[in-house]
């Protein structure tokens, strides 16, 4: 019985067609997810919120278990869908998302990303869009708020702030005959030798990397800089005598085996500080959270960052929160106002996120957190990194240059000259 050849093909063809149809239907669910999702069920709006609180961290738990439920109960009709990304990937996702219109409504942004995303017209100008912006922004610390300003407008609200302070190991110091943390850069360099002599297997100081975040405080406190005050050139600043001076001193100490931490394979600095590998380190408030969970017996001591000729100038860090949404601007605004309100800021403050909300800073629970004090003090003189769109690329040039300088014996002045040229070329574009 010879069956019709064609009819035998029918079933697999139909199978393939069904799959194709399912594919087409399947993506209709997904299309327009960031857009008109309020057409689905009545007036319910779902906001997508991208952040980089790491999974299983206390701050992420506060966000999902406390803050979002509270917001949703106070704002019936608005739901929040929070998505976690690793820091690096979040940056990429927004960049890629911007090019294909697949952006979240709201995102937590590292302060150095704000100029970049403003330059590509992704962020909503809050002071233009919302009439109560002026009122709301009065409640925040000035420094962090300025990180959200690009040109004449504000493109985000500050969310949390941080900086770094000097941590020092009291026992080790005492063994080396030192009674207190170094107050000046000169004292710092002197201490390194003594600390190393006491413990040959460790280092006097650990710095986890050589990016702007790490190296700028040293440069700034000692009279140097990366860019001019108008952020239009690096020549004369990155390769100034002061910058060359401090970098050379640091490299000499690295070559003498007195500081380390940024090489691949080096013991991670925070853990190393707790287990007596690095006598000193410069880190942010998250170090305390880490000590509390991993090294409960360690007694961390803090002090101001050593002052150089230009004072004790640390780098300002922190995160802002911005709106990308086109369809749900008002709801997004309500959400970010909530996250920067006293209540939310105190909740986050309890797990180590230093608040920017002025009332929250005065709140009893926050004041009770001892370890915030040195940071708040250091914040008074902290300086922000240049608020320009090319900063992430400049940071890469800086980091590569510093790596070359530290890991080889090339001439510091020559390397910094070359780097300044590269940066200037970037700024001209």
């Amino acid at each position: 019985m010879k069956t019709n050849r064609f009819s035998e093909w029918l079933s697999p063809m139909i199978f393939i067609l069904i799959i194709a149809l399912l594919a087409a239907c399947g993506n209709n669910e997904n299309a327009g997810q960031t857009a008109a999702s309020d057409n689905n069920k009545g007036k319910d709006v779902t906001l997508t919120f991208w952040h980089h609180y790491s999974s299983a961290s206390p701050e992420e738990k506060v966000l999902t278990d406390v803050l979002i439920p509270k917001f949703e109960s106070e704002n019936p009709g608005i739901k929040v869908n929070a998505v976690a990304f690793p820091w690096d990937e979040l940056h990429k996702k927004i960049q890629i998302g911007g090019s294909v219109n697949e952006l979240p409504d709201v995102a937590r942004l590292d302060i150095i990303w704000v100029p970049e995303f403003q330059a590509t017209d992704l962020l909503v100008a809050l002071d233009e869009e919302f009439s109560d912006f002026a009122e709301v922004s009065k409640n925040f610390l000035e420094g962090p708020t300025s990180t959200a300003k690009v040109g004449d407008h504000y493109y985000a609200l500050p969310l949390n702030t941080n900086t770094k302070v000097m941590f020092w190991n009291k026992e080790w110091f005492e063994q080396a005959g030192l009674s207190a943390a170094p107050a000046t850069t000169d004292e710092f360099f002197e201490a390194l030798g003594k600390l190393k002599a006491t413990n040959g297997n460790g280092w006097g100081f650990g710095e986890p990397a050589l990016q702007g975040w790490n190296i700028l405080p040293w440069i700034w406190s000692n009279g140097g800089d990366v860019l001019s005050p108008e952020f239009d050139t690096a020549k004369g600043y990155l390769n100034s005598a002061e910058t060359v001076n401090i970098i050379t001193k640091l490299r000499d100490k690295y070559n003498a085996g007195e500081l380390s931490g940024f090489k691949q394979g080096d013991i991670p600095v925070t853990e190393g500080h707790a287990n007596s590998t690095y006598a000193m380190m410069v880190e942010g408030p998250w170090a305390f959270a880490q000590f509390q969970s991993q090294f409960q017996d360690f007694n961390a001591m803090t002090a101001s960052f050593p002052a150089g000729s230009a004072g004790s100038v640390q780098v300002l860090g922190g995160e802002d929160i911005g709106i990308f949404s086109k369809a749900h601007k008002q709801e997004s605004w309500e959400f970010i106002k909530f996250l920067t309100s006293e209540y939310a800021q105190v909740e986050m403050g309890r797990v180590g996120q230093i608040p920017v909300n002025l009332q929250a800073i005065e709140h009893a629970d926050i004041k009770a957190i001892d370890y915030f004090t040195p940071f708040l003090e250091q914040l008074k003189t902290a300086k922000a990194r240049p608020p320009i769109a090319q900063w992430p690329q400049i940071d890469t040039i800086l980091s590569d240059t510093m790596s070359i300088i530290f890991l080889s014996d090339r001439d510091v002045q020559a390397e910094l000259d070359a780097a300044a040229d590269k940066i200037d070329a970037l700024l001209k574009k």
Partner: protein, 288 residues
């Protein structure tokens, strides 16, 4: 007969069209991109630049470093996997229970994801990691701890070792299958002639599995050129791009700087190199 011919095409077509859409079409688009100044910032108004991207590739010092690194990696890891894989397969070519257990042990690294394997190796090779502990504190082979991951040469050898560790099981399995196809009579007559093990391997085993060896070699070389995750996680191409390989450098150009046109030129140059190498291997194999 005609029915036959059309049946063939009908069987081929759905899969081939699917394949062309999702693989060949992007491949060709990628080739096109390499002739444009195509960045994320100008994604909607790219500029045609002809061969400029390719000229940049040739002048790019890190391109050459990455090429050198991947060749070194290949020269260490491919023979390593082949030789060790063969030895283990030969030794475990029995149906005993212990052989089967050993085989599973050797295959476990293959089943481990690259991400996990890289993280574990990173852990073991850090300055205060397990290996240094054994070498310095337990066996006292060296005075001070060896910095495995911060010097390019050492880091590259760590990554090559990871490649071998991860791939031996795969080669072993393929060789095992091939070994089971070698006719036993050949060995029996060799025994009668009084040959020893080494002679048996050299004159009977190896020639019998020539095709397998060639297949393994090609697959391992292609695999070596594709190495990415281990370098990305262990050294990130550092320090200062000294341990970059083809894919990590292309990735950083594409996804960190979003210099997409240039990244496409890089990937095509790499692909051309791999293709030429594969072609040469085929020719050499034919000659043998």
């Amino acid at each position: 007969m005609k029915q036959q011919k059309w049946s063939g095409v009908l069987f081929l077509l759905p899969g081939f069209l699917f394949f062309c859409l999702f693989l060949i079409y992007p491949l060709l688009r990628n080739f096109l991109y390499s002739f444009y100044d195509f960045k994320l910032s100008n994604i909607n108004h790219t500029v045609y630049v002809g061969l400029e991207n390719y000229a940049r590739v040739i002048e790019d010092p890190i391109f050459w470093i990455s090429l050198k690194n991947i060749i070194i990696y290949g020269l260490i890891s491919v023979p390593g996997q082949m030789i060790l894989g063969f030895i283990v397969a030969y030794a475990l070519n029995a149906s005993t229970k212990s052989s089967k257990i050993f085989r599973t042990f050797y295959f476990l690294p293959v089943v481990t994801s690259w991400v996990v394997a890289s993280l574990i190796f990173k852990f073991i090779f850090t300055d205060q990691g397990l290996l240094n502990y054994l070498i310095t504190d337990v066996l006292h082979l060296t005075e001070s701890r060896i910095s495995w991951l911060s010097e390019p040469a050492k880091a590259l050898s760590v990554i090559s070792m990871l490649g071998i560790w991860k791939g031996v099981g795969w080669a072993m399995v393929i060789y095992l299958a091939a070994l089971q196809n070698v006719p036993k009579e050949l060995y029996e007559s060799a025994d009668l002639d009084g040959s020893n093990t080494w002679q048996k391997i050299r004159y009977i085993t190896l020639p019998s599995i020539k095709f397998t060896t060639f297949f393994v070699q090609i697959m391992l070389i292609i695999g070596a050129f594709n190495v990415f995750t281990s370098i990305f996680l262990i050294t990130k191409g550092g320090p200062v791009h000294q341990t970059e390989v083809m894919l990590t450098w292309m990735y950083s150009k594409a996804f960190t700087e979003y210099d997409l046109g240039y990244a496409s030129a890089l990937s095509y140059t790499f692909a051309a190199i791999i293709a030429v190498l594969t072609f040469i291997q085929f020719k050499i194999n034919k000659l043998n």
